[in-house]
Symmetry: C2
Subunit: 333 residues, 2 copies
């Protein structure tokens, strides 16, 4: 099945580049209320399902044991920018479990935001594993392992109980059988499991509609999503798309990016979840399409909010002299 | 016309993302000896035609007047990484024409290579216009204006004689009428003119086959291409694709990247030019496809070189712990 063009990039009066993709807006029963492209093909969700990967942290009681509040839970669901506040909080979470940076197995990278990386370099420092955009998630994994008395070393392996619980939660909420032998390895070394976009969208719809899974699981999901919506800076960072999308409608929209052009999210007041994938993996297109989907979902009952998202679905492109040269814009859905 | 999938990105055993595109390998008469996708649709060539944009520098006599050698000409055709050697040489070229950094109108940006940017930041410095990846090209524009006694201020404007000459050379070699009113504005503020991939490929074929335009123009093009092939580091930089592609076959391959997934080049011994565009603008895919095209072109008469390019057409992807997670690979052509 051919995926339609969902985002265009213009220069002058001409379309310069085009992005194809698929999206699914789904209710808790898995009915697609709005969709395009192939929503049944398996897709690696990457970081877009960090909320689902954090479910065992809540369900096991580890979050309560270590007194994790909204900021901590938001960071645990984050692909953060490695800004000072993110790094410090990840360190705090590890300390609560009696651990430190050296216990992380996510690896090290310079923060993606050039300005943040240059600030660290300008101070003559190097990044450590706390700067990894996934350090919050990994701190959460370690909290669960400590709480349950499991070995912390090797917690990223597909057969470690930490990852087995994650897989079980993902399989349950997406309604998809997930085989560890078919997992991909994510940037932060944990397994990533492919499933249809419809399944990921349904998982988030179940959480916000509070139906279709065990009450404890749904409550855990709701607690995580509410933490992200309450503390959107901790889930991404300064001027990041996820943060801006959630700040536009406090407490009403959840949206999370994943590498290679994925986005997942939910609109609690509509009881809907969504998932999308840009065929070529482009983040710029995934961000524009997410904003455009939200504009469409709010159009009937909150046109003012829809207009804000419509604005976010078009990003002006400027050159080095700040001249506007074109834009990234979602197609009419 | 639908563009085919030309590059896949895998993770584990699965295709995670796909890039569509079009490519044309063309002889001096404009005959496509090898092509896929829509090669007649107008495409902005961006920086992939810097050699063609430098033709008036040679034709006007400015390059000889200012004693520009292979390194300088390669930098003038470059999208360089802003490394120390690039910045110093751009400054030298300007000095030959009695000008300096402040005369540039390309704007300022941090070098794209994170390590280079962090080195500058680590020394407590900021980039200036010499660090702009186009500073060599702009230095060349200024040399021509000074040589011909034209105003240097405003040399980036579509109606300045510097840009009028560039447009005339592009129109001539591509065989395409180019209207300044339909130009896009490039990242470095000069006009960029859309033309079919077939036209750009033909322009480079004409130069290396030495037919289809005025002898002085063809000789100027050949001098520029030979400079790039002789000094490939100055045309891009450390570990950059253009540099690696040309270093693999010294003096035998010319290849130049452009923003938004464009590549142009030529194989002089075959008298062929090529041009390609990834539909979604992805550089990773343009690089893989270029290497794959070169592998195919050399396969019949130099299988050893073809094997080197086949190797370059697959790039292993590793995560932050250096685990191999997948690859970017060109499809069989």
């Amino acid at each position: 099945m051919e995926n339609p063009i969902v985002v265009e990039v213009t220069r002058g009066g001409r379309v310069e580049s085009r992005h194809r993709g698929a999206f699914a807006v789904v209710d808790a029963k898995g009915r697609a209320v709005h969709a395009a492209g192939d929503i049944e093909a398996p897709v690696f969700p990457r970081s877009a399902v960090k909320v689902l990967q954090a479910l065992p942290l809540i369900e096991s009681g580890a979050a309560d044991r270590f007194g994790l509040g909204a900021r901590e839970l938001s960071l645990i669901c984050a692909s953060h920018s490695g800004e000072e506040g993110h790094v410090a909080l990840a360190s705090d979470i590890l300390a609560k479990a009696g651990l430190g940076e050296g216990d992380l197995e996510c690896g090290c990278h310079w923060p993606f935001a050039g300005a943040v990386a240059r600030r660290i370099a300008g101070e003559g420092r190097e990044p450590n594993q706390l700067h990894n955009n996934c350090s919050g998630k990994h701190s959460g994994f370690l909290c669960t392992a400590v709480h349950l008395g499991e070995a912390t070393r090797g917690y990223v392996g597909a057969r470690h109980p930490v990852q087995e619980r994650v897989r079980a939660a993902l399989a349950d909420l997406t309604g998809t059988a997930l085989d560890p032998e078919e997992a991909g390895i994510d940037g932060c070394s944990i397994p990533t499991y492919a499933a249809p976009l419809r399944g990921f969208a349904q998982a988030f719809a179940r959480i916000v509609a509070d139906e279709g899974a065990a009450p404890e699981r749904l409550a855990a999901g709701r607690r995580l999503i509410e933490a992200c919506m309450a503390e959107p800076w901790y889930m991404a960072g300064t001027r990041r798309a996820c943060t801006l999308l959630m700040e536009a409608a406090p407490g009403r929209v959840f949206a999370k990016t994943g590498a290679e052009g994925v986005f997942c999210g939910a609109v609690p007041e509509l009881g809907l979840g969504f998932a999308l994938k840009i065929e070529d993996g482009a983040t710029r297109a995934a961000e524009a399409l997410t904003a455009s989907l939200l504009a469409r979902l709010f159009e009937p009952h909150d046109p003012a909010l829809a207009a804000i998202y419509a604005e976010q679905s078009r990003a002006g492109l400027r050159n080095w002299k700040k001249t506007e040269t074109g834009e990234v814009r979602a197609m009419a859905l």
